[in-house]
Symmetry: C2
Subunit: 426 residues, 2 copies
């Protein structure tokens, strides 16, 4: 993959937000790092095939899924590079038709053909809730004793499974993507970005090139989503109020498509629902922004690079309707509003905006979104043991190997290099 150089970087304490950089070529042709003779100044950054593969072998791709059709899911899976581990976290309806069962079959069929492993689990499986509780995060459980519904909650479960696999990176890809080639590009951009970030605590966020919309019977390739514009505006405002200089660096406030090192991810306090993506920025500012005391001096010393990559493919997905957009926008602003790093001027501006939109009554305050403790606090051994014994929807699709050779489970029982990484006391 070949990317533009980012020319500017916005700082917020130890957080380094790189300006949006575009993908130049999906395939740069460079196989090994040695192929890149570095004796002339380049106008672009090349990441070799070899470097991308090295990240992919350590990457889990989590696909949060809700009532998607088999065909669309199959397309998404086909775009995920072979060496990435697939984790499907579903909140699909189980009645009158058990859609989760169809999804599991789709994953199994694909993995049999593609000779690769995968993990699947249903978000509302009582056994999963029992495992999460046993592992030490009762906050995730609702009144019915199940893991709460919500995209953020699905992503938290996905991150826990990723940590159990012993791999080092986790990336997210929505299940409702009609373009397998876009999924493919997202994953390649994750790997390229994580390689370029060259830090144990890195995040890569995608800004899609355009979003085709039906408009007056024809297609219009819209550059920015309706939610993103608002979220990015206020995130930039939050940063600008500290520096005294206006900025438009943040272009990925609502990025559903993003990836991060587990060393960083396990330390983050993730939000529920649609607040999860913008809240990642907020939590980075809170934990590593230098405004509040950081529980992780080692991360502060090393710095947290956030790369923003504009992919080439259009983001072509199901239209979830106006209400969905409204929800996303409001939840993003709610977390910004309540953050201790949000200065009064920005708070006032958020209030004014929400009131002008009619989303908030004249005297009401924005509600608080749920913020969960870091996934790194989970006791992974206990999580695994209870899931295996109690979570009936938990499927481990193993990599099929020649007869006589042992099968390769996706989860190795030793839980990899990130153990304890997220514990605030570490």
């Amino acid at each position: 993959m070949r990317l533009e150089h980012p020319h500017r970087t916005e700082r917020f304490g130890a957080v380094r937000i790189h300006e949006l950089q575009r993908v130049v070529e999906l395939d740069s042709g460079a196989e090994r790092a040695e192929d890149l003779s570095d004796d002339h100044p380049r106008s672009s950054q090349i990441v070799s095939q070899e470097a991308i593969r090295a990240i992919e072998r350590e990457m889990v791709i989590v696909v949060p899924c809700m009532n998607e059709t088999r065909r669309v899911i199959e397309g998404v899976l086909s775009g995920i590079p072979h060496h990435c581990l697939i984790v499907l976290v579903s909140n699909s309806a189980r009645q009158p038709v058990d859609r989760y069962e169809i999804e599991v079959q789709t994953v199994e069929q694909f993995c049999r053909f593609a000779e690769r492993p995968a993990l699947t689990v249903h978000q509302r499986d009582p056994g999963l809730a029992a495992a999460i509780k046993a592992a030490g995060m009762p906050e995730l459980i609702d009144e019915d004793g199940l893991v709460r519904s919500g995209k953020g909650e699905a992503m938290i479960v996905g991150m826990a499974l990723a940590a159990m696999s012993g791999r080092r990176y986790v990336g997210y890809v929505d299940a409702d993507n009609y373009v397998p080639g876009a999924v493919h590009e997202y994953c390649k951009a994750y790997a390229a970005g994580l390689h370029l970030a060259n830090s144990p605590y890195a995040m890569v966020r995608i800004s899609w090139h355009s979003k085709p919309k039906l408009q007056d019977g024809r297609l219009f390739f819209s550059r920015r989503g309706r939610t993103s514009e608002v979220t990015n505006h206020f995130l930039n405002r939050l940063i600008g109020e500290y520096s005294g200089f206006g900025t438009d660096t943040v272009a990925t406030g609502n990025a559903g498509e993003h990836a991060l090192s587990l060393e960083l991810g396990l330390r983050l306090r993730l939000a529920g629902g649609f607040a999860i993506e913008p809240h990642e920025y907020v939590d980075l500012f809170e934990q590593f922004g230098g405004v509040l005391d950081s529980p992780h001096p080692a991360v502060m010393a090393s710095g947290v690079p956030v790369l923003q990559i504009e992919t080439r493919n259009p983001h072509f997905h199901d239209n979830k309707g106006e209400e969905h957009v409204q929800d996303m926008r409001t939840q993003a602003l709610n977390v910004l509003y309540h953050s201790p790093v949000c200065l009064p001027q920005v708070r006032e501006a958020i209030l004014a905006f929400l009131r002008s939109q009619g989303t908030l009554g004249p005297d009401a305050e924005p509600p608080r979104e749920r913020i969960y403790p870091p996934v790194g606090q989970l006791a992974l051994d206990r999580l695994y043991d209870v899931m295996v014994t109690e979570a009936r929807t938990f499927h481990q699709v193993e990599r099929r190997l020649p007869v006589g050779v042992r099968r390769e489970p996706a989860i190795q029982r030793h839980h990899g290099p990130v153990s304890g990484a997220g514990r605030p006391s570490a």
Copy 2:
């Protein structure tokens, strides 16, 4: 790339048409051929990265272009793997705005960033016509003394440039594709297919997964194009009449996206306009079907594999309207009708169909489409010399290299390993 095994093959003399095989994974993860331990039966075919690269280094991608926007062209270019040589053959308007000039600028800008070479030419450049005439194919020139307009004619020019470059394969990608990831997948499928075909005389034809259409204000993912169904039906009928067994093997009669070895391509008699793609099948049957005498006994002995690959991405392009579809369909049937290998029963069926559609009067005969002599008959040296001196729209974008190192032109003056391959007397 990982593909399904094709389980059946249709024969027509030396022509071996493989059943449609689907792409399983865009990226199979296999780097080198050695990575594929072949000690167990696989349910799919894997082509390693190394094998794909080897083909890409020898492949030219021709992009026929007519009045596309800069953004769309840039997206298409970004999807073409780095090692492929880009050739843009444009028939865009030059007035009131010189759209060709915009296209050239887009290609140059992209290539500067991506450090790769390209060739561009305008189909209606008098200098190109002079070069084609001098090289020995006056049939391509119209009353105005210019190369005829038409997609087939653009593709013929593209093949001639491909031959000049000294590379061994040529693939075609339409410029009106909105999904760079789809273009990328086509090119990877070409390379994977040409590798698997393992023959000097091979062709790979793409069947896209689906084609999103606006229908009643929502998107419908149609599986087959309106033209393709008809063309495929009659091509299969033509084959079936010889074998005595009905078949539905041909699924790519109108495939705009296809690639072939120049050893084969330079021998084909290509048709003009939209007849070019279906006529490739017809010409294979005429030259290598064993019904008529073949001018190429060596090819007959070796066989001509045709691989058909169903890609994962939707084919998402500009809607050219009903008339375009009608044109494509009629021109396809015209070439079938007039082929000496088309049996009377099939001819009758074509007549009946065209009359039922109202495309043909009750006593009229389908018109003949233009069929050109093989591109291999062109004197490439003369073509090059006249183009360089007279074709003012002919741009050779060179690969920019560090100062002091020589630039690498796309065209080497010795014209590669295919010299004379297409001459029927060879």
